[in-house]
Symmetry: C2
């Protein structure tokens, strides 16, 4: 199994997790602070996905910190497969949440032009942070998946 | 490079492409047939993504048919990398389109309860076909990506 920067148990991997956690937490905080998110299903779904993202990134970050502290290598096939499946599912859920919320935000902002009655800036920030979170999760997933596939080659 | 069913240039791969083309075409036809899709950006985006999906799947299907007819092997690294990048981009775009349209459909259907004024059944069918299209594209992408990674191992 190859040793690539950004994989679980490396400082790069930990950095990616902290970044994901940060983006997901900002998205969650901004969306939760709006008054009427509960009336739109897509915004509730975005909040659910960011909570899932926070829990997953925090868990893996703790495992990474432990592995770095005791200098233990996490690159055995079972651990990488587990991380890869978890990353894949979390990424898919986060992306769908961000896209659904983006659809509604564009509808309110550009199609109905109702920004005076709604906190459009908050919606936009939350959606943008949701997308940033997805983009920072993608390298983790691809590296893990690539690493599994390489070890089968 | 491994020979897996569902890869470009195999009958399984051609079957997947035909399935993608079918789902994308149904989604496009149903969404275009609604009267007021143009007033919602997310629905216009869904139509754009299904057009992109149709063009991509048709192109690769034609290449597959040619490869099957002349019994030529498409499994060299350059071709598989090209198919993999194309599949990845198309999949991402299709998924985001389907999710955004799904967000709006749920908003109209469940949150605002405006189905009497809107063709909700058409919106739901178009979104469902968009998701089916994504799911039928995923195996193609994962197989190609896996095959590239394996050949590097």
């Amino acid at each position: 199994m190859k040793d690539l920067p950004g994989m679980p148990g490396t400082p790069g991997g930990l950095g990616l997790r902290v970044l994901q956690l940060l983006f997901a937490a900002i998205s969650l905080a901004v969306m939760s602070s709006t008054a009427d998110f509960a009336s739109v299903s897509a915004f509730c779904y975005l909040i659910t996905t960011t909570v899932l993202q926070c829990v997953w990134s925090l868990t893996v970050a703790i495992v990474d910190i432990y592995a770095l502290l005791v200098k233990r290598c996490l690159r055995n096939r079972r651990a990488v497969t587990l991380f890869s499946i978890g990353d894949g599912i979390t990424w898919l859920v986060s992306l769908s949440g961000a896209c659904a919320a983006a659809g509604i935000t564009v509808l309110i902002d550009a199609d109905l032009i109702m920004c005076s009655e709604n906190p459009c800036a908050s919606f936009q920030t939350a959606v943008a942070m949701g997308f940033m979170c997805c983009f920072s999760l993608l390298p983790s997933f691809l590296l893990n998946f690539y690493s599994i596939a390489s070890s089968h080659g």
